[in-house]
Amino acid sequence: MLLTSLLKENQILLDIETTSKTQCIERLAQHMVDSGDVVDIDQYVRDVLKREEEGSTGIGFAVAIPHGKSAGVQAPSLAYARLSAPIDWQSIDGEPVKHAFLIAVPLEQSGNEHLRILSNLSRKLIHEEFRAQLNQVKNAEELVELLEQ
């Protein structure tokens, strides 16, 4: 499946603990390195944080979607973290973040299918029912299933 080629099993982290936004991004990015999608983690994390400086990707409703189009990325990738303790993300509604989807896209666009999956994810996040289900997910399999609906 296309989605699973983006969101590999090792890139789904449920109920982890992190103390800051940067730490959360770095940790998710490390898993992308492990699966070979990110080749230069320093470059990639720098690009993601730069994007955060331009405006927080905390879109409200306890969700953040940090993302970066970066030379450090080899293949498009998606990682997810559900945080056991919500952290501050300077979100637009001021609420702390519980769900973080980290998105990696290479500089040269690599086929629209992947971008389309990511845009579909963004659309889903707007819906309350989807976010409620996100809270209920018990394992990686269930998450993939939820996203593929």
């Binding site: 666009q109 971008l115 990511l118 845009s119 963004s122």
Partner: protein
């Protein structure tokens, strides 16, 4: 129900574009508002708004951090919100759009039909119009500045060092000299983008020098444009030389090709044609001159800003470059007549028009004095078979009379306002008379042909009584 449109876009085009779109869509759905949203993200433009969508829309919400091609929304109410607002509080954005004053005024309608037309232009016509529209400011500036030099006497510019001579240098020596090169340059630009400009300008300059005038310029522009496009698209170079293409190969190749064709093949025959045309126009007997005015006039009113109108207009503007000013006078008079005639018709016989149409008539009047023929379109669209023939007859009358009265116009635009610039119009009072007669003909014919408003409220009430009784 009011239809709302939206456009969302962000620089990365991965997340916010789509979240904002979804959020707005959701809010619109909950409110039961007809809605469509265009996304401009990493995947490109999706669900693009069509001209028809825009036309039907009550208002358009723009939630974007990059360019969204706003030009197409001209004449429409546009609400701008930040992406964050659209995501967080879409219902408010939708409410704002619903409550906004819709700009459905007459002028907005006219603006819209102009937009639709330029969007629908393609190929040959589009390239030609790009050239013409870039040339017009030069003709306006040149023509009026030359007219100003005549304030000091018709031959005052011949004396060197005077202000009249300076004005003639600016208008005739510089602005008019640039006309044909710019025409050709921008035709080529429209065809081949930037690489077309240089060969087009050079081809146009040659046309201007060898006397082939605007006709030669048009031909030069097309040759240069397609030559540049051919080299750009078809000539393949080794990768390491690819960088030389825009800076060396295209300018040299396309310019040389266009230039040689202009000098050895096209220049002379076209110069003969232009000379012949000039002689023919100068030697026209009164009957033929009136015939020319009638034809140009009818063309101006036939499609009000469409291809036929623009053909007549381009012909007249091109002749200004060859110092022939009479057809321009006929064309502008005929172009002002349609909206003016409609305005007069609504005054002459208000009962035949609805309240909205009478209001629209006033706006048409304003557009008419400004030489915006498109001002007649909403009326013509509503009742084409009665309105268009009336407009054509009135405009042909104005055009024919302008030629009969031997009027001449130095500027290609300006409507009634150029009449006040000294020497811009020769025989200015007769010119005003030609326009006045033309609009009267249009108005009378419309009033005679029109049946009147279909259902008057009083009648309906009367009928009800009848039924009750």
């Amino acid at each position: 129900m009011k239809k709302i449109l939206a456009v969302t876009a962000c620089p990365t085009g991965i997340a916010h574009t789509y979240m904002a779109a979804e959020s707005l869509e959701k809010a619109a759905k909950e409110k039961g508002v007809p809605f469509k949203v265009e996304t401009r993200g990493g995947v490109g433009i999706e669900n693009e708004l069509t001209t028809q969508d825009i036309q039907e829309a009550h208002a358009i919400i723009i939630a974007a951090a990059t360019d969204v091609d706003e030009g197409r929304f001209q004449g429409k109410t546009v609400i701008k919100v930040s992406l964050a607002e659209a995501i967080k509080d879409a219902p408010t954005a939708i409410d704002r759009a619903l409550q906004a004053e819709a700009s459905t005024g007459y002028v907005a309608q006219v603006e819209q039909s102009k937009q639709e037309r330029s969007a629908g232009r393609s190929g040959f016509y589009k390239h030609l119009m790009t050239g013409v529209s870039n040339m017009i400011p030069l003709v306006v500036a040149g023509g009026l500045i030359i007219a100003l030099s005549f304030i000091f006497g018709i031959t005052a510019f011949e004396e060197e060092g005077t202000l009249a001579a300076a004005l003639m240098d600016i208008g005739g020596g510089a602005a008019f000299a640039l006309m044909v090169p710019i025409l050709a340059g921008f035709i080529a630009f429209s065809i081949a983008d930037k690489p077309g400009l240089a060969p087009g300008l050079v081809g146009g300059m040659l046309a201007s020098q060898n006397g082939s005038g605007f006709l030669g310029g048009i031909i030069a522009g097309f040759i240069a444009g397609y030559a540049a496009k051919f080299i750009k698209d078809q000539v393949k170079l080794p990768r390491s030389f690819e960088g030389l293409k825009p800076v060396l190969i295209i300018p040299l190749g396309a310019t040389l090709f266009t230039g040689l064709l202009m000098v050895y093949v096209i220049g002379e025959p076209v110069a003969w044609i232009m000379e012949g045309l000039g002689d023919w126009l100068a030697g026209l007997n009164t009957g033929n001159a009136i015939a020319l005015g009638l034809i140009l006039g009818a063309m101006m009113a036939f499609d009000m800003g469409g291809p036929v109108n623009k053909a007549a207009y381009t012909f007249a503007v091109g002749l200004i470059g060859s110092n022939i000013y009479e057809p321009m006078a006929a064309v502008m008079a005929a172009g002002m007549t349609p909206p003016l005639g409609l305005w007069l018709a609504t005054l002459l016989s208000p009962k035949k028009f609805s309240t909205e149409e009478r209001e629209a008539g006033k706006a048409a009047g304003v557009l008419g004095i400004s030489f915006i023929t498109e001002g007649a379109i909403p009326f013509a669209a509503a009742d084409p078979f009665r309105v268009i023939p009336s407009l054509m007859v009135g405009s042909a009358t104005a055009g024919g009379l302008a030629m009969l009265f031997n009027t001449a116009l130095q500027a290609p635009h300006g409507g009634i306002f150029v009449l006040f610039i000294p020497n811009a119009v020769t025989n200015v009072f007769l010119y005003a008379l030609a326009i006045a007669i033309g609009m009267t003909v249009t108005a009378v014919m419309i009033v005679l042909l029109k049946k009147g408003v279909a259902a008057k409220p009083e009648q309906t009430i009367q009928e009800k009584h009848d039924i009750a009784g």
